[in-house]
């Protein structure tokens, strides 16, 4: 948030700065298993995607991993994820129920090339979205004229909660593929502080509109509020930094720590990626004239 603001200001004042695409020769590194497993408690098709890391300048989809077995163990139940032979391992909640035991831990288990990788994620509760509102805003620095929406929800008091907020304008995600614009919140405020039980603070509840392309009358503003675990929150925070880490205020490029481990703790068998189970709440608002 702060970094984004600094960056916005810097861009507006460093009128002399410029960026060019250049050619660079990079070292090649060994390939690793990559796990992309975001599971939600609703009845939609749940997917765990397995791929392999590749040379940085591959400039094509990274190779899929098709010959693994993937399952998630919940309280008293085990969910098998079936390979589609394109790297996706899927589970349809219509068959034996959603992954929805709030407060319980779920364990991901992947078997691949005679190795076992596991990770545990707790299904945390998520507050209801009470309502959504909209207001018309005039042009300001870094903000176009148009309608801006907000969502209203209140953090659970007395516990540490982490949230990932996804926002859509009609059918498409706002700021799609702009990882620096991921909306993350701890206790309905920014990270690293002792907030508790708040209504999501203004900079977060109003972050669901793209400032370059705000809403117009007739558009639908959709928000998804997901509960996540602390380690997933950290993973996503790191992702926002590392995916676009340039300029005056960039930090040293660093690897993002995975929450998935080799079951036998063998450091040579490190994997990349993340496992997360989330409870999800959705809100939507059709924009009407003010």
């Amino acid at each position: 948030m702060m970094k984004k603001l600094l960056y916005t200001m810097l861009v507006s004042f460093t009128f002399m700065a410029c960026e060019d695409v250049i050619d660079v020769d990079l070292d090649q590194g060994q390939s690793q298993l990559v796990v992309d497993a975001f599971i939600t408690n609703d009845s939609s098709l749940q997917t765990v995607r397995l791929t392999k890391s590749a040379d940085y300048f591959l400039n094509a989809p990274t190779p899929s991993v098709t010959k693994a077995s993937v399952k998630i163990q919940g309280p008293g139940l085990s969910y098998n994820f079936v390979s589609d032979n394109q790297g996706n391992y899927q589970y349809n909640p219509q068959t034996s129920g959603a992954i929805d035991s709030i407060g319980f831990p779920y364990k991901l288990e992947i078997q691949y090339e005679n190795k076992t990788y596991t990770s545990i994620s707790v299904l945390n509760p998520v507050p209801k979205i009470d309502s959504m509102t909209r207001s018309f805003e005039e042009e300001e620095l870094g903000q176009e004229e148009g309608y801006y929406s907000q969502f209203w929800a209140q953090d659970f008091p007395g516990r540490d909660d982490y949230y990932w907020i996804k926002a859509y304008k009609n059918d498409s995600a706002i700021n799609a593929l702009e990882p620096s614009s991921l909306i993350l919140s701890q206790n309905a405020a920014f990270s690293g502080n002792a907030a508790d039980g708040l209504i999501f603070i203004l900079p977060i509840r109003a972050a669901i509109t793209n400032e370059e392309k705000p809403l117009e009358v007739g558009d639908t503003s959709i928000v998804e509020l997901l509960s996540i675990n602390a380690d997933v929150f950290e993973f996503l925070e790191q992702l926002t930094i590392q995916a676009n880490n340039g300029g005056l205020f960039s930090t040293p490029p660093a690897n993002i720590r995975s929450n998935i481990k080799d079951a036998f703790g063998n450091p040579q068998d490190e994997v990349l990626g993340v496992f997360s189970v989330s409870a999800i709440e959705t809100g939507s608002l059709i924009i009407t004239a003010e």
Binding site: I22, L141, L198
Partner: protein, 782 residues
């Protein structure tokens, strides 16, 4: 330690034992034009080859046997004065020197006695006066103190536009930047493009990189001692200018003729005012400007007592729906007292504050949020100079600094519910005591030796946080926290810092010098961005953050040529750093109560060669500076625990600075810089998460590549129209071009996903200044 003091006592005793019938002449050397003290002016009895130079307050003291002497007072650029003195009692003699008439011929780069660089014991020191700073072509024509310092040997930076500077392998927080003896915690306007020091209010700048005397302490790598100009004691004058960024005005004059004077100097950027008519309505309320105000008053109460008050206040302000501003404030009061002909005291007290504030600008107080952060310090610092005899000058004194750190004072309102989310304040006290003697042994040897004792206490009210050990490089978890009451000591540290410098004259024109110094530092700037940001925190030493320590040895050869017209030096240095702060991968430094869990502690080393040639006088002046160096860190948890180069490591660093006075109307300046590319961390692999392509470095290496070299040429021309004899108002035009040959110097190379094709990843060269930048400015004085 005990031996050291006995040795010192011995020297003091012997020096008084052999004293015969001796008397002292002492006083101040000043400019006849402005009444300003001349720092470093020479006072000499040539017949006996005895001499001394005035201290930073223009005070001198010379002890001689009874007799009649011809004493010469001189200072480069001024006419010397000879006084015949019959010495049969102690005498206070203040002299005023007149400026030399033909200014064109004698312009001197630092206004010092011409062979000081070989004769004085100090080494690894560079001085620049405000005249020189104003001659160097600058970005957008804005003369800049810090950018001038970057042209000196041993000084590097991560890149243009970044805040601060790096000296001999040290971080930017390892420079003690003093403005009239008050530390300035952030020396930048606009993130680092300009520095906060108004050149119109600066008298001279001294950078001490090595052989640091015991009188200085608190930072590892350098002291940047900036002295503010004093107001003209004779007449009212003013100066100012209109440039591309700032408009400036400074006024000075006597309050009481020859006794008291004032100086007030202000600058404000005015891009916002110029832009306003062109902005549409929504943007017209935006604010973006920066300003600073510098003021000084000095008062000569009587021949033995003088008082100086100086202050600085500056801010950068940005706002448009949000608010963001930051700035420094300093206030210094100094009292010079002459106890007797040989004992001089300066007592300094200061207040220095750096703070920033950030928030949203909402009409509705139910939904605002604001936070601010600051470091505030108060200090008392007595310094004594005792002129024992012509061979020994003893200095002793101390300093006490009280710090109050406010990492974050934060208040959020969310729909009317207010929440105070402030992080706890931190407190500390830093104390120092020092004693040093500068001794001449025979006619060739000078030694400066002494000791500084420093102490830091991390004080309550606060918590002693204890963290669990973990694999290096991973966030440490808080194990326990013990509460302490107000002013209770949570943790404290002592350090003894020996210092030694030796000079040996090889002949009349050359000398060799060597020095050793140990420095310790109790304040740490917590920053892991390439360029420091205005929101970086200063934190005290705690039970987890240990004091930083550096040992440095330096050896140099100094030689002057052509009747001191040219001075040259070659120095080598080696430096060892302990307790250097680094950060775990993806550290969370911004708003984190358990920030210490994200810190790593490592060590560092730096070594290098510095060559410097300066032409001091004549129509053509300037210097060439070349540095060959290496600066590295070793931190468990970074780069597999192996040594890696720092982000500001530059193998070669060359600066050529020159200016030429063509005639009375025109003068020209140019500077060229070349420096090797800085290290950067490049990925080896890519992987995809939720459609985002992420970089990965399988070797976990840090700074494994180098970006291309940096080089740049800047030029300027100054036109001074002819003025009638006796005309007071004088103006000059300065035309300049920065980055003449339009080079896109890389600041960094980073990697990102292509916006149009998410499968394509690309390397981006980021240049802070991507083109040549012409500018015109107009300066005037009256």
């Amino acid at each position: 330690m005990k031996n050291f003091f006995s040795f010192l006592c011995f020297i003091l005793l012997t020096s008084s034992l052999f004293a015969q019938e001796k008397y002292t002449i002492s006083g101040y050397v000043k400019s006849a034009k402005t009444g300003e003290e001349l720092i470093g002016a020479t006072v000499a009895v040539r017949a006996k080859s005895i001499g001394t130079s005035a201290n930073v307050y223009g005070f001198y003291s010379l002890t001689l046997e009874a007799g009649t002497y011809e004493v010469t007072y001189s200072f480069i650029g001024y006419q010397e004065i000879n006084k015949t003195i019959e010495l049969n009692s102690n005498q206070q003699i203040n002299v005023e020197l007149k400026e030399q008439v033909n200014e064109l011929e004698v312009v001197d780069v630092d206004g010092e006695k011409s062979d000081n660089n070989i004769k004085q014991v100090e080494m690894s020191v560079n001085k620049i006066d405000s005249k020189t700073i104003k001659k160097i072509p600058a970005l957008l024509g804005e003369a800049d103190v810090i950018k001038s310092v970057l042209l000196l040997p041993g000084v590097s930076t991560v890149g243009e536009g970044s805040t601060g500077f790096n000296v001999r392998g040290g971080g930017i927080d390892q420079n003690l930047v003093l403005l009239d003896e008050a530390p300035v915690y952030n020396s930048s306007h606009l993130f680092g493009f300009f520095s906060v020091f108004n050149p119109d209010a600066v008298k001279n700048v001294k950078l001490i990189k090595g052989g640091i005397a015991p009188e200085y302490g608190g930072r590892l790598s350098s002291i940047l001692d900036i002295r503010m100009k004093e107001g003209n004691k004779k007449e009212f004058t003013g100066s100012g200018g209109v440039g591309a960024i700032f408009s400036r005005l400074s006024l000075e004059g006597p309050i009481k003729k020859d006794k008291a004077s004032f100086l007030i100097a202000g600058r404000r950027s005015y891009a916002d005012i110029l832009a306003k008519p062109f902005l549409n309505e929504g943007l017209r309320d935006s604010r973006f400007y920066f300003y600073d105000l510098t003021a000084k008053v000095n008062y000569e109460i009587d021949p033995k007592n003088r008082l100086f008050l100086s202050g600085y206040f500056g801010r950068d302000v940005f706002g448009s729906g949000f608010l963001f501003n930051w700035g420094n404030a300093t206030a210094t009061a100094r009292w010079n007292h002459i106890f007797n002909d040989r004992l001089f005291m300066n007592l300094t007290t200061y207040y220095s504050d750096y703070d920033y504030a950030f928030g949203v600008e909402e009409d509705d107080p139910d939904d605002d949020f604001e936070w601010s952060s600051s470091i505030v310090s108060y200090s008392v610092k007595p310094d004594f100079s005792y002129y024992i005899n012509n061979n020994n000058t003893l200095k002793f004194g101390g300093q006490s600094i009280y710090y109050n750190f406010k990492p974050a004072k934060a208040e959020f309102a969310s729909n009317g519910a207010r929440n105070d989310l402030s992080l706890p304040e931190k407190y500390g006290i830093e104390n120092g005591l020092y004693i040093q003697n500068e001794q001449s042994i025979g006619s060739r040897i000078k030694i400066l030796y002494g000791l500084r004792w420093s102490h830091f206490a991390y004080l309550g009210k606060g918590e002693k946080q204890i963290y669990r050990d973990t694999v290096p490089g991973i966030r440490k978890e808080l194990e326990s926290a013990e509460s302490f009451d107000q002013n209770e000591v949570i943790a404290d540290y002592n350090n003894f810092e020996p210092r030694l410098s030796i000079k040996y004259d090889l002949d009349e024109f050359s000398s060799v010098k060597g020095s050793y110094n140990r420095m310790s530092q109790y304040l740490h700037l917590i920053s892991n961005t390439v360029a420091s940001t205005p929101v970086d925190l200063w934190l005290p030493t705690t039970n987890n953050i240990k004091p930083q320590i550096a040992d440095q040895i330096a050896v140099g050869y100094f030689r002057n040529f052509n009747d001191n017209k040219y001075e040259a030096s070659a120095e080598v240095f080696a430096k060892d750093f302990q307790n250097q702060i680094d950060y775990i991968d993806n550290a969370d430094l911004f708003f984190n109560e358990q920030l210490e869990g994200d810190l790593l502690i490592g060590s560092g080393r730096a070594y290098g060669l510095e060559l410097f040639v300066k032409k001091r006088t004549g129509r053509m002046t300037g210097w060439v500076s070349y540095t060959l160096s290496r600066s590295e860190r070793e931190v468990d948890g970074i780069n597999r625990g192996e040594w890696y180069p720092t982000r500001f490591d530059r193998t070669h660093n060359l600066s050529v600075v020159g200016s030429y006075d063509w005639n009375e109307k025109w003068s020209f300046s140019a500077n060229f810089v070349y420096s090797s590319g800085t290290p950067a961390t490049f990925p080896t692999n890519r992987y995809e998460i939720q459609g985002v392509v992420l970089p990965h470095n399988i070797n976990e290496s840090r700074n494994n590549y180098r970006i291309p070299a940096y080089h740049r040429l800047d030029i300027s021309a100054t036109l001074t129209p002819n003025y009638k004899e006796g005309q007071k108002f004088k103006g000059e035009w300065v035309f300049s071009v920065y980055n003449v040959y339009n080079r896109r110097n890389p600041f960094s190379i980073f990697f990102e996903q292509n916006e149009d094709n998410s499968l394509v990843t690309q390397a981006i060269r980021y240049s802070v200044v991507g083109s040549f930048v012409p500018a015109v400015s107009y300066n005037f004085k009256f």
